[in-house]
Symmetry: C2
Amino acid sequence: MNSTPRILEVRKNILKQNDEIAHTLRSRFEEAGVFVVNLVSSPGSGKTAFLESTLTRMRSEFRVAALVGDLATENDAQRLARSQVPVRQIITGTVCHLDAAMIESNLKDWNLAELDFLFIENVGNLVCPSSYDLGENLRVVLMSVTEGEDKPLKYPTIVNSADLAVITKTDLAGAVEFDWPAASKNLQAVRPGIQILRVSAKTGSGMDDWLQFITSQRRDVVEHLVWHS
Amino acid sequence: MNSTPRILEVRKNILKQNDEIAHTLRSRFEEAGVFVVNLVSSPGSGKTAFLESTLTRMRSEFRVAALVGDLATENDAQRLARSQVPVRQIITGTVCHLDAAMIESNLKDWNLAELDFLFIENVGNLVCPSSYDLGENLRVVLMSVTEGEDKPLKYPTIVNSADLAVITKTDLAGAVEFDWPAASKNLQAVRPGIQILRVSAKTGSGMDDWLQFITSQRRDVVEHLVWHS
């Protein structure tokens, strides 16, 4: 189509603007000592259940909060409010991803220095969120066993932009005859060396490994800051 | 962001171009007497398994073919080839939906008059495909029981653009404690009057109802054509 080069150019400018805001956000997060996690996945892969379980388990030991993106509804914020930590819903309308400007404006009245961890639950989409840096320390791609083992090959860009893969709903792995070696092989094919965790928010299986992973990641960042200050 | 109004304007032009091509396609489909079905859903909701089962069951009685869209891989075309009907893969790269121009160029060497049904499996995405008319007769939104009952509320636009909702993987409904009344209520809330079918491609449950539905829909279209010719 004739206008494709033009939309690509406009999109490039938007991404450049996004990167600039993300850069500012990253400095603010670092200064405040808050470790920021961006959760991306397709719709219905269990991000919210995973996040609710994470927030509930962490809140006695850490100061945690969450921003959660959706095209419509406040449902996720309401579900996450059960974890009794600060949660804010971002409604994107027809936009299929969060961007750095949305994060910035929704953090305006939050004191980041009072947080140890900030979780961002992106809009359920395996394409759009991949290009939008939100200033996060860690991008986690979630894939449920019910989606099948081939998703990394079909959506390579988002897997490529992720730091960690979490396979969710492992309690259903038997029922769907999930092929673990194939899933691992496909993830490694598009993102060699990526670490893979297996969790079930329903049974709690694997949640300890996940919490250990992010707390150790945060420790590295905070120690790095102390070292350089 | 400053460029948002500009990207909206460019997008509007692209959609206008798409609608013009879709309009031409629709006339061609009508003339050829082929009934076209566009399947949309999130990644991993079971479109390919559903389509493979559909093609295999139909091929003895009807002339069927399929176009299948993905960002990357020929995997789906290879899976669907087992149904022994003509199948062509469309690779979209980073584009999160099929558009009418992609359909047009991939149909170039196919004789549409030799087909009764053409199935188009869209890219797995609950946002992007909603705005792109492909000239289809019927748009079907698929949602698996493992994705949860709230998806219609969170992705209202795509449900709103659909003619039929198909709930897939019903064999797993018990394992995930799927709430049928809630799912139905949420679908009806965003698309009042939408018909809902329940299928499991694995067990075959509900497939007869689905085949009956589309064959009767095609009959209506063909009879309408005969009546007016």
